[in-house]
Subunit: 386 residues, 2 copies
């Protein structure tokens, strides 16, 4: 079995599994906010995890707010930042059409309920957002802007956005930069404080840690308010007893990532090899974002005329699990919003499958995937669906 | 070592630990929203967990919205219900002084930001909220009421509130009844749909399931909006990839609870025995909520003149871990808000320790706790602190 949907959700990484099995047997278990010894011991474990995570992502421990994952983090930041912005008379938001549905839907709510006007950046054919248009809008709307929300790496194409450049532009314009780093942190090098980004996010399940754990990174936490109200946890920024077990696994997974940079390189090389092999056999094949910097282990690929869902099903019969787009819109047999924003034709858009591996999967799996995809295309090309 | 802070947070229950260890080794791991076989297999496991939970708490599966726990659930309900209520011209909220800080702080935000007027019910000396006053307010403010939020069981005293009666009153007055059942579900029998409650909550870590997982129960889910925005998960009521592993453990822990009702009875008997033993030795001892119905394994006890923190520390030297109040306010050497709302004097309020066990701890631990507490009181009484 080859699981090739790491961008959707990664399996628990073996290091995390081993850590958890030991941890579940030995404890400690307690409320990290209790002052008895079991509580402080639990707290120390969690704070140690915070320090490890902070170091790896280039942040200070106090810039990390543990939560349930990126959707919560992004919802919290939109809630906090837009509330202040509204009071200050701001009227506009800039996002990109590449964004995950959390950002799209947060912006939609801001438009419907707070009368913000949402400006959405298109991307070029390689999936890079239109930075020139961003410059124009930053100039044009300057003081009216509540925030700019542009992701670091796209969940479908794996294309890495020029977030450092965007961050510089936002800083010059003094507009908060919200950067969805969910597909980026723990998949490639990242330094939060050097990036200049105001708010970044991570979900444990994207990198092999426990589901339901994640964190929000804030340059200045005083700009935030809790979305989930509670008893003052996370320095009053996120209510509810902390998911201390989940939070510890974030540190384990990030530490594994940090110690395995060479494996990342290997993944990248093998992915390149796999893509070349398929292109050699089918020169008409389209790899979305091919000429853009991309995550090491992410490929979004289409053979024009062959339906993506047919490819997915055929690969599944060979015990290889891929998706046609992100999990959220997987059931829709239409060109995804991400590809629409890149100006991709339906002819290609309906044919794509996303093949994504991760650090905890073997890079050599790409050989098997290449053979299977070539066999699949050979078979399906004879019964073209559109 | 005796961990006696189950009301703060319960250790992972052995059944959950065994389930997890096996599960971590075998999988499946995938995004439950992906349509490939690994995704649907993961989804089926989660939906099976939802069905198990629903059956045990007397709800329909579609009335369960998985989330990160009760703080999130309560924040979501206040957000949704108050938004609609505001539009409908409602002006008042009723809570009780017994509520967990989530409810207190949600009400405070509603007052500060939405101009709701908050009416707070006091409790009698046994910790039961003033239902007669509730009747008066329901009559007096009838149509102005946005919601009533009164918990099922108190986290400090363990006192069970007459939530069925409150639910009837709210239904007659046609006011939504929000009932914080965090200390109730999985600790004693509960039937959501028979209770008439509109919204109820649970946190896995209170009953031995994984931290960071829980659910919200809603009589009518169409009254809710997502607080955490995402890609349409949980039928568009809670964004973010579901914590499917955590959610499965909720079913394991609730199933354990369901199959061990006899152990619950045993816990109750041994607790009674323990309390009587201490009272026999120290007739002046005060057990908060002594004459009220209480959770099987919860005791909030004070020896007037002996400081609670001294008792806690002395018990800790005997490897027994208790708290002086709830984890959130544990550091404050003052009478807790819950006790203030019961009219408890500082003389007693500053002396309390909370001793709480759970289904996964042995009832016989109460013998050891009784001996240790008696020895502690004997020692500390000679050096009374106030």
């Amino acid at each position: 079995m080859i699981y090739a949907d790491y961008n959707g959700s990664a399996p628990i990484c073996p290091e995390v599994r081993d850590y958890l099995i030991k941890r579940l047997e030995t404890g400690p278990f307690a409320n990290p906010n209790s002052i008895h010894h079991m509580g402080t011991k639990t707290l120390m474990g969690m704070e140690n995890a915070r320090a490890v995570c902070a170091k790896i992502v280039g942040a200070k421990p106090k810039q990390i707010i543990f939560n349930s994952g990126a959707s919560e983090g992004i919802s919290t930041v939109f809630y906090s930042v837009l509330k202040r912005a509204k009071k200050a008379g701001k009227t506009h938001i800039i996002i990109s059409g590449q964004e995950h549905s959390v950002v799209i839907n947060c912006a939609k709510r801001a438009q419907e309920e707070q009368d913000f006007q949402v400006l959405s950046l298109k991307a070029n054919h390689d999936g890079i957002v239109d930075v020139e248009q961003l410059k124009i809008w930053l100039k044009e709307h300057g003081d009216q802007l509540a925030l700019v929300s542009i992701m670091a790496a796209n969940n479908e194409t794996g294309v890495i956005q020029p977030y450092k450049e965007i961050s510089d532009l936002c800083q010059q314009a003094q507009v908060p930069y919200v950067c969805d780093t969910t597909q980026y942190i723990g998949k490639t090098e990242f330094d939060f404080n050097k990036s200049g980004i105001d708010y970044a996010f991570m979900s444990g399940h994207k990198i092999g840690a426990l589901t339901g754990a994640g964190f929000l990174l804030a340059k200045d936490t005083t700009t935030l308010e809790p979305l989930i109200i509670g008893g003052g946890q996370e320095r009053n920024l996120r209510g509810g007893t902390q998911n201390y077990i989940g939070n510890e696994t974030l540190a384990v997974a990030l530490d594994y990532f940090q110690r395995n940079q060479d494996k990342l390189k290997k993944l990248f090389e093998k992915r390149k090899e796999f893509e070349n092999k398929v292109k050699e056999k089918f020169p008409e094949v389209v790899i979305l974002g091919e000429n853009a910097p991309r995550l090491a282990s992410s490929t979004y690929i289409a053979l024009p005329g062959v339906h993506g869902q047919a490819v997915q099903i055929e690969l599944e019969s060979k015990d290889i699990f891929v998706t046609t787009s992100s999990a959220c819109s997987d059931n829709e047999p239409v060109t995804s919003k991400v590809l629409q924003s890149m100006g991709v034709d339906d002819h290609i858009g309906r044919g794509v499958v996303r093949i994504s591996l991760g650090l905890c999967s073997g890079p050599e799996l790409y050989d098997e995937i290449a053979d299977a995809l070539i066999a699949t295309y050979s078979k399906l090309q004879q019964i073209k669906s559109f």
